[in-house]
């Protein structure tokens, strides 16, 4: 299974692929090769994320997969049909930007897929026990207008 823009085709994802995703991962939107949306759930009983579904937005450049996609959480308001909050995590800003090594050009590998990225983020959530945002979250969220790919994260925490 490879939810993944293919090089020789501009076709969207074949329908049969949607039925074979790992547990807790579903495709919301994949009708073009620039932006996909995925819903993920944390499967174990981590109380921070139980019974919640989160939405990820993938933005692909034309150098994908040599270069990483831009991945961030997006929020759907609680009043909508499918409310999607931004998960609380010491490496996820409240605007949905994720500080994760494998999404940087240094940590990325072209063998990664949308599916494998979703699984990494699932496990990043699963492993977390701190109910907090990153330090400096409110300042960053108010004043950051950069896109995730242009931000230079420092990966100082190996415990994620």
């Amino acid at each position: 299974m490879a939810p993944f823009p293919q090089k020789k085709s501009t076709n969207p994802l074949p329908p049969q692929m949607k039925d074979h995703l790992p547990p807790g991962i579903t495709i919301v939107k994949s009708d073009n090769l620039e932006e996909w949306q995925m819903d993920i759930k944390v499967l174990d009983s981590n109380p921070l994320y139980q019974n919640e579904t989160y939405r990820l937005k993938f933005t692909f450049s034309n150098k994908y997969p040599i270069e990483p996609p831009e991945v961030q959480f997006i929020e759907c308001p609680p009043t909508s049909d499918h409310p999607r909050p931004i998960p609380i995590h010491p490496h996820i800003y409240s605007n949905g930007i994720i500080c994760l090594d494998l999404l940087s050009s240094a940590g990325w590998s072209p063998v990664q897929t949308v599916e494998s990225v979703c699984m990494s983020i699932q496990s990043m959530l699963t492993a977390n026990s701190r109910n907090e945002r990153p330090p400096g979250d409110s300042d960053f969220v108010s004043y950051n207008r950069r896109r995730p790919r242009d931000i230079n994260f420092h990966y100082d925490d190996d415990n994620v």
């Binding site: 074979h20 500080c99 494998s116 108010s142």
Partner: protein
């Protein structure tokens, strides 16, 4: 399975009784492009990729994408066995998947119709359910567990071995005419191979032997691989001349020249790995596609060497990425005007057009100028402290 469009994937097998073919097909696909291997080559860490895919990866970061160990494109070797596997599998695939789908449809039909006969039904359901349940595995999982793929792969190799006996003489057969020769010679031979079967050995002593002359002629024609250039050693005009000599466009700023040369080298050398090399004209066409999608007309936001704004300039991305700078400029400008100094617009190295545009549009962001400066400083401090 109704297929609205034709995009084969390894998951096609999962709903059929042959769900165990899914990991086999997955193993025959490149982990970078997810397509069937195209001119497969093997790295020194024994991972196989399409020639072009791995060359692009190595020229970007010099590491194997699968295991992150360092490698050089010089060490890549063609993987003929994988190439043959892929070709054989692709040839067999349409009829096999057709058969498998029909079997799946038949199984589900009998399941519904023959509910009165418990014994045969049970057997059929088992046949369908067993492997199907087993088959709900993803590519990434099966990739990691080599032992699960091996038994399947071995079966197929045995099949093909039955049909073609391969003597172990250290030589390889030309895939077209089956003549046996040294591995190094095959590629050159392919340039001239007419597909005629090998002539009987040395029956015509003393007579003309045009066939045996051919490989020597081909020596001259064999495309030579392009060497890697250490760009830092070349001056601009030398690099431009090099591109011109190669027959590719030599215009544009320096970083683009380098990236264009790298892409051309990757395309060219990958073509050298091909059993059926493309013409230079075709490669130039591919380079032109690259030029339009990733080259001169699709620059990164980091490259700000152009002084003239491009037609497809991404104003939104520009304004977001330089928002802090603009805010600071605006703040400075206001301070100056408050101090009754004649207002001048501070210039960035990028020119004033964007800056003035932003002056107009950015004013909505901030009620007063002083806090902005303070907060951007706070953000920079936070960047140092944590992982902004």
């Amino acid at each position: 399975m109704d297929q609205t469009f034709d995009l084969p994937d390894s998951t096609d097998w999962l709903p059929t009784p042959l769900s165990l073919v899914a990991p086999l097909e997955s193993a025959l696909r490149c982990q970078v492009c997810k397509d069937f291997f195209d001119n497969p080559v093997i790295t020194s860490c024994s991972h196989t990729f399409c020639s072009l895919c791995i060359r692009r990866c190595l020229s970007t970061e010099g590491k194997c994408p699968a295991c992150r160990s360092s490698d050089q494109e010089l060490k890549l070797r063609r993987n003929w066995a994988v190439q043959e596997l892929v070709e054989a599998f692709q040839n067999a695939r349409p009829s096999v998947i057709d058969l498998a789908r029909k079997a799946a449809a038949r199984a589900s039909a009998t399941e519904e119709a023959e509910s009165e006969e418990p014994a045969p039904k049970k057997r059929k359901v088992e046949a369908v359910d067993g492997p199907a349940a087993e088959g709900v595995r993803t590519r990434s999982q099966t990739r990691g567990v080599g032992s699960q793929e091996d038994p399947v792969a071995i079966e197929v190799i045995e099949d093909s071995n039955d049909e073609e006996y391969v003597p172990e003489d250290g030589l390889v057969a030309c895939p077209i005419c089956n003549r046996r020769m040294k591995n190094e010679a095959v590629f050159r031979h392919l340039d001239t191979c007419t597909g005629e079967p090998a002539p009987p050995k040395q029956l015509n002593f003393g007579s003309l032997q045009p066939a045996s002359q051919r490989p020597k002629d081909a020596l001259n024609k064999a495309p030579e691989r392009l060497p890697i250039i250490n760009y830092s050693l070349l001056k601009d005009n030398v690099l431009r001349k090099k591109l011109k000599d190669l027959g590719i466009p030599n215009t544009g700023p320096r970083p683009l020249l380098q990236r264009r040369h790298t892409e051309w080298m990757n395309l060219w050398n990958a073509n050298c790995d091909s059993k059926t090399p493309k013409s230079k004209r075709e490669l130039l066409r591919e380079l032109d596609i690259w030029e339009r999608t990733q080259g001169g007309q699709a620059q990164l936001s980091g490259d700000v060497t152009d002084t003239v704004m491009r037609k497809d300039f991404d104003a939104a991305a520009w304004s977001t990425s330089h928002d802090d700078d603009f805010k600071r400029l605006i703040a400075n400008a206001r301070k100056k005007s408050e101090a009754q100094v004649r207002t001048t617009i501070p210039q960035e190295n990028v020119g004033t057009i964007q800056a003035t545009d932003q002056l107009a549009s950015q004013t909505t962001y901030q009620p007063s100028s002083a806090p902005v400066v303070k907060h951007t400083e706070a953000i920079h401090a936070a960047e140092d402290a944590h992982c902004l």
